[in-house]
Symmetry: C2
């Protein structure tokens, strides 16, 4: 007998976590540094301070296992939307035909933030530290706009200017998030733009240039260099962003305990740059590394159209196409890789967070991948059973959850599955329309051609022995 009253587990606003979990000191192999593209050496702090807010740089290289969340910041989380609810997917379980309590599916609902995803978790923190540093502006790039709207929201809370370079193709085709960013006072430019030298170069070649994330990053970095009151802001990949997201997993642990569950058996999230996945799984990955619970299976889900971990190489690579930003050691498809136009814009990044890459190399986590048609189908199944329409990114995690639940059922296993419902899909309805009208396409590059492309690409020359 299921009890629907216990299917949604809330925490009080005062239960917002008091610290972030930094997994770097517990990693089984040493953390790799961000490298200066100018000289191939680890970026010195003074260089990083010129790019990011100071406290974020200190967090990036911190060896402390936990980092306190300032109380002022906890208050803002609490006032706005945290802790987020944990739901048991009772109706999805029933639909999958899992009997009784053998298979339990839980999801952490990050879609309840004002911009509808986990992105404000780090956006608010970065804006807070920027304000403390006396900065006047944060600048970033965005594809479909999930991150851009998160940062616009965060900056507005602290009265800091926010400038967003938005890939022109999305700027034109997906006006929703652009309007939302402007409601939060952000300045949004179609990229390539006339506001930067690099933007102008691309526009000279083609006045209707559709843009790319790589170009938008170049413009944002150039813009941030124009004044010492401006810094660049990142929404994923780097350590401090993953750190800020660990509120997700910490809350989920407490909520599972409230539901009478000590630990999940399987933890699942979708991976683009890696931040929502890491935010949920880092507390559990640390338990695996410290031996507190070595049995937890942790799975990151990629699109088959952009499988950085599943099919890429682990190596030093540029974070951006224009080779202007920091170099990181990570799983990558190559910085010139242009992913197919799948709807999960947040998963169309050529690389992967170094922390996630190291955890994968050490088999603390594993990676899998799915096609967007089966993913969107799973998203609709979720909407029909649990009521909330997932973002196409989130639907990748859901597809894997359904597969794992069915496998466990077939094997007569008992499993508790936890996944991150990273965002809702109300700005991504076109993906669902295309699925329902049969217009959705799948994309997959042959492994051989990925390998060839990687080999033909200019690689950064890094001599680790010189570090």
């Amino acid at each position: 007998m299921t009890d629907y009253f216990k299917a949604r587990i809330n925490l009080e606003p005062s239960e917002v976590p008091k610290e972030w979990i930094n997994i770097v000191p517990d990693l089984p192999t040493p953390m790799t540094p961000l490298v200066n593209p100018m000289d191939g050496k680890p970026a010195p702090p003074e260089m990083a301070f010129a790019i990011f807010p100071k406290e974020c740089v200190l967090q990036e290289v911190s060896q402390e296992r936990t980092i306190p969340i300032p109380n002022e910041l906890r208050e803002i989380y609490a006032k706005s939307y945290r802790p987020t609810p944990l739901h048991r997917a009772l109706r999805l379980e029933r639909e999958l035909g899992t009997e009784g309590d053998d298979i339990k599916i839980f999801y952490k609902n990050e879609s309840t933030s004002p911009t509808g995803s986990h992105k404000p978790n780090t956006a608010i923190a970065q804006a807070y530290y920027a304000k403390k540093d006396g900065l006047e502006e944060l600048v970033t790039e965005t594809g479909a706009g999930q991150w851009g709207s998160g940062l616009a929201y965060g900056c507005n809370l602290f009265d800091i200017k926010c400038t967003v370079y938005m890939v022109r193709a999305s700027f034109t085709q997906k006006p929703g998030r652009k309007i939302l960013m402007r409601c939060y006072n952000a300045e949004v430019h179609a990229s390539p733009s006339r506001f930067t030298e690099s933007g102008k170069l691309f526009l000279e070649k083609d006045p209707d240039h559709p843009g790319s994330l790589g170009i938008a990053i170049s413009e944002a970095i150039e813009h941030s260099m124009s004044s010492d009151k401006i810094r660049y802001s990142l929404g994923s990949v780097v350590n401090f962003v993953l750190l800020h997201q660990t509120v997700i997993g910490q809350e989920a642990k407490i909520q599972l305990n409230k539901a009478g569950i000590k630990d999940p058996d399987i933890v699942i999230g979708c991976m683009g740059g890696g931040s929502n996945f890491a935010g949920l799984m880092i507390p559990f990955a640390r338990d695996k590394l410290t031996g507190a619970n070595s049995e937890i299976e942790i799975i990151g889900v990629e699109p088959r159209a952009c499988p950085s971990v599943c099919k890429g190489q682990y190596r030093w690579d540029f974070g951006d196409t224009a080779m202007k930003g920091p170099i990181a050691k990570m799983h990558t498809l190559g910085h010139t890789f242009i992913p197919s136009p799948i709807h999960a814009g947040g998963l169309r990044y050529h690389g992967m967070a170094p922390i996630v890459s190291i955890l994968n190399n050490n088999k603390v986590i594993s990676a899998t991948m799915h096609h967007q048609t089966e993913v969107i189908k799973a998203g609709i199944q979720f909407a029909k059973t649990e009521g909330i329409l997932p973002a196409p990114e989130t639907a990748h995690a859901i597809k894997e959850v359904i597969d794992q639940a069915i496998k466990a059922k077939e094997n007569n296993e008992k499993k508790v599955i936890l996944f991150n419902f990273s965002g809702h899909g109300y700005f991504d309805l076109l993906a669902y329309k295309e699925y329902m009208t049969g217009a959705l396409e799948d994309y997959e590059l042959p492994t051989e051609s990925i390998k060839k492309a990687l080999e033909s690409e200019e690689m950064p020359k890094i001599d680790e022995s010189q570090f």
Copy 2:
């Protein structure tokens, strides 16, 4: 010193109210019945049973002061999204310059439902009763789609078919909610359609007919008559819909008490058909009527483009343009009134709930109105301070809240203001874009021309002495 940790007041899922509040027996003047358009006499139960689920009809005419909410239904509310949070608008207060705790603004956040508004409160209840009656389908009309997506969600929860006739102009221009409804398994037709006789008539005249709510209602009613396994579903106006919404005000009362506040001084909601406003205010209106607290000021906010209470007449009128549905005694602008194309589609109804009309006649509540430009401006001010972008409908309430707070501040009064945040605006971003680009227009009909139009219109012939 404000405490952000106390700015969001949650209730446990088990605290979903156990009963609805029926204000009909407490009304200062007798409730007026729904009247059969065929003979001008109160619609007999057997006629109503052919239109609505049986239990809804019994609730419509009930004289009980409270009606129990079935536990199964409470479970569904709890599993899905209820109780919704109550927020204190600390950042909006600060922006308005209200010092200390003299002016407190609270909002009940109904945007946290899966479809983003209060509509599922009644949709789930109606679908539940339809299932109990052994029905196979509910059919309704929708304008912009807030109600249609709510009903699609509710029906899907109980495996009942849902058919929605959506005004063609919205069907074409606002595809978002149409896709969402289809994700919930609903059948959505552009109205006028070829599926009904009345639809065909309009299409013969004009194959590109843009449609209207009146035509869509006619089609939905005709469709519902085609089988005894199908019923018609309404999203506002009638008593049982207002009844279902009273969970909002009951929860808000408990949450205010938790915040140390016995009663608000002012209660505000926007009014289209009246259901979200009534849902919040009915528990407080009953307190006024029973003398438990006669001081509470209750204000309904209308658009200046469609001011049924502020500028209409209180009289018998048809609920729909085609004069097929029940006749009600209410404030109305006339059933042939076509409101200007304001963005707040949910407030573009010519009439007003009879319960709200009676409360207005007896000065238990009052009504006011605002222009859409000032309303959307208030909506942006809310997004910038509180983080959530309101639906254009909800922004009407916010404009009034801001005005009341400023007035109280100027008069050095202490006020607790409570309003219903009935829905978010993520499907209505065009309104905000038009505001920011200066393209938003205001509409207001001169009082004289409203009066003339009402006088020239065919009125139902009702002899109340015959009831």
